[in-house]
């Protein structure tokens, strides 16, 4: 697969930032492809079962995709805000598709690798996480941004604080509560027990 041109991607990002919704449609598959490619490389390099360094992965994806030199970004954190939204959408769409696939098909799928086996449960949960995150947005938009930046754009607490122009301690507090709240919300719906492995 030919690597997408960084210029092309940057232009699309700028266009999307300027309010062109169709730019996102075009942007998504390009970012997705790069993410796929990187994820594969990361997987190959690490032992199965090892938790991926998502932050590094996402960071690298965007560093590779964006033409940093030639674009006047309002600031780096602004860009990461966009990146996080895109990444979230990609991952959740993927998880949703996987979830639907499992619900729809009546195949009894025995997984192909340990990693995929673990991940199979996660896809359903990520969909639930996204739903919960949307609920959190309504209750406390900043906390939702913190989660998004932390986990979909791979920012550290410090970077998140900079991106949101709040203190580190605020981010810590936001993070602590948001994570607990999301965990509790998901506990109500989590079904990571064996049933998720099978369609019933």
């Amino acid at each position: 697969m030919a690597a997408p041109s960084t210029q092309e991607i940057t232009q699309l990002l700028v266009a999307w930032n300027n309010g062109d919704p169709t730019a996102l449609e075009q942007l998504m598959p390009l970012v997705q492809a790069e993410l796929h490619r990187l994820a594969k490389r990361y997987m190959a390099g690490e032992r199965q079962g090892h938790i991926l360094q998502t932050t590094a992965l996402v960071n690298e994806a965007f560093l590779r995709l964006i033409d940093w030199q030639n674009v006047e970004w309002r600031n780096r954190s602004h860009f990461f805000g966009l990146a996080a939204q895109i990444m979230r959408r990609i991952l959740v769409d993927f998880a949703r598709a996987r979830h639907r696939e499992k619900r729809g098909g009546d195949a009894l799928i025995i997984s192909l690798s340990e990693a995929a086996n673990i991940a199979r449960e996660q896809s359903a949960d990520l969909v639930a996480l996204d739903d919960a995150l949307q609920a959190l947005e309504r209750l406390d938009p900043r906390q939702a941004r913190v989660v998004e930046l932390r986990f979909f754009a791979g920012l550290s607490l410090q970077e998140t604080a900079e991106a949101l122009k709040v203190s580190l301690s605020t981010v810590r507090r936001d993070w602590s509560l948001a994570e607990a709240w999301l965990f509790r919300e998901l506990s109500k719906t989590l079904t990571s027990d064996s049933p998720l492995l099978y369609d019933s």
Binding site: L91, F94, A180, R184
Partner: protein, 775 residues
Amino acid sequence: MTPERYTQIGELYHAAMELAPEARPDFLAGACGSDDELRREVESLLLARRHADGFIAGKVAGVVAEMAARQQFMPLVGSLVGRSIGHYQALSLIGAGGMGEVYLAEDTRLGRKVALKLLPAAFTQDQDRVRRFKQEARAASSLNHPNILTIHEIGEASTAEGGAHYIVSEFVEGQTLRAMLRGGRLDIGKATAVAEQVAGALNVAHEAGIVHRDIKPENVMARPDGLVKVLDFGLAKLTERGVGNGVWGAGGQEETIFPNPSLSTASGAVMGRGRYMSPEQARGQRVDRRTDIFSLGVVLYEMIAARRPFEGATMSDVIAALLTAEPPHLGKYCAGATTELERIVGKCLAKDREARYQSAAELIADLKTLPPDSQSERPTTREVMGTRPRLGSWRWPLIAATALLLVVGLAWFLSWRRARPAQSDQINLSSQEQRRPGGARSINPTANDDFLRGRYYANRQNKADNETAITMLERAVAVDPNFAAAHAELAQAYVWRFFLFTPGEKRWEEKAFVAVENALRLDPNSAVAYQARGRLLWTPANHFPHEKAIKEYRRALTLDPSLDEARNQLAVVYNHIGAFDQALQELQKAITVNPTNNLAQFRIGETLLFQGKYEQALTVLREGPREVNPPLVGSTLAMALLHLGRRDEAAAIVEEFLKDYPGDTDVGLFTSIHALIAALAGDEKKAEAKIRSAVQKGKGFGHFHHTTYNIACAYSVMKKAQEAVYWLQAAADDGFPCYPLFENDPYLDNLRKDPRFIALMAKMKEQWERYRTIL
């Protein structure tokens, strides 16, 4: 919950977090006062906090890991679209599964649509997987049956990512049985038709020693014309290793009836059968052909009942039901299910495989015995008549008239359909009716129209109709070059052209060859193409290779037993080698399939003539339109009349033909009859003259062996034994070794004591005995 409430909860949460855990209950009791709900909210968040560390990271990482893992066998969904592999260009992604992606692709060399199944590059590093992939392809490609997806090619090509293995198969336009079932249950007739076709596919595979192992609605496709294709033969064979390797239980331990995910990683197999598996599969036992019959039983049950016979909330429950419970009666879900249908489905679903159908052929036989009533429900008539309020009396005549119109229309439709059994408007093809009009593809309506008309004329054996047929069929393939059936019919039309009408023009023979090849390339199962090929081989230049032609016709009839023209042609060959009973059998079958097949009827006349049954021959020949094949009818009629002593009538027919068709290739044949008439009249001079003329006019033509036979008869009548035996030998050598005719024809009686004749007959008898071994 409101944002304000959330903020309130958050503030208490943060405050509590500042405290030591043991101090928190008192703090919350004080802070929340009588708001118990507030306290419970904060307490539950504090509790959650203790387990929440890293959980989001885990979820996200897990999904990324899954994306990555998935990429190993599904690099980028649809990534091949617009690109080429070998000489195939991927047009769109039509499916993806554990063993790869399936694209609609174009074969750029042949300009046809195909399905291309690609084994992802990442797998090619896995030798084991490559081996299994090829195994699947080989198993599937060895099977040749209209109900089995045809494999065109198993290939390997290098791409930017490395080596890629692929399977190219015919592209089936239609929907899976799964998609059909989403619309609810099928009516019984449709369900049994699908089951019969699947069983037909299984039968062929089982005969070849291949068990499908994964019969389920996803693996059955139905084309809009009703033809069913079973996919993925051999794919399931891959899972057999899984069975042995403990996917279904550690090392085949029977107590482990449920696949343990932790064991699955060892073999990395993909199992897809789930709810269609048999008890022996659930137990991890050896599978055999009866396993497929069980799964087909589940599918048949589901088609009729819109539910599976063994249901349960979880897979464990399903398997428990599968192993222990009897399925609910079909009648519970479908009022039209007869006890016989129940019995058939029940026999498929017997838990003990010894109690099931032991072969798919047995199942097919039983499905065929289902009375028409149970094959199609007709609730409409009863509903309309029984439940509607009484109609005003004036309406009855109208209804009667409508009903009459319907009956007449139906009768017309049926006869029209029989006359041209391959119309593309057939909805429910039974396994006998698969004529495969265009293979798995959409047909250009203009081309189809020309095709249908062209085919009608193609088998009317007179020159004008043949020319019409060629014009129409050439137009059909010009408009739609991928129209396999049109190529096949065109081949047949060309064959008639060069055999019957313009034997000197070699180009028609060449065109016929090309058309046969085109048809078979586009549709390797084109029955008409094999039929045309049989007729193409059977020429004077090839010395009429009877056995080869018989083989081609039999192949055509295996592919399509309802192809009455192939039976006609087979009967013609049988007549020439003196296998009259077999010829009559084929001709009767042709007429049963297609009562309007006049050619078959006239051929029966010919057979009766050869058998010496002249009166009967006359009766048969006088029914039906002579223009379908004027020389055949005319010459046979004249010979029958001659044998009956009605010489004048015979002469009149000969004269009439020579007057009406002066330039016809059969002028030689009729002239030879003329010679015989003259010989019988004692006019030797005239007879000799006619014989010379007949040889001159008939030589090199396909029917010349009949001419030479008649000449031999004339010489025999004139008691010129040497000449008679010479021409008889010529007839026999030239494709007409019709021993029983030579043995019994009264016109040859003058030769019976001639040693040359006796020697010839001895040789012919020997040959005839040999032919009988292949009948």
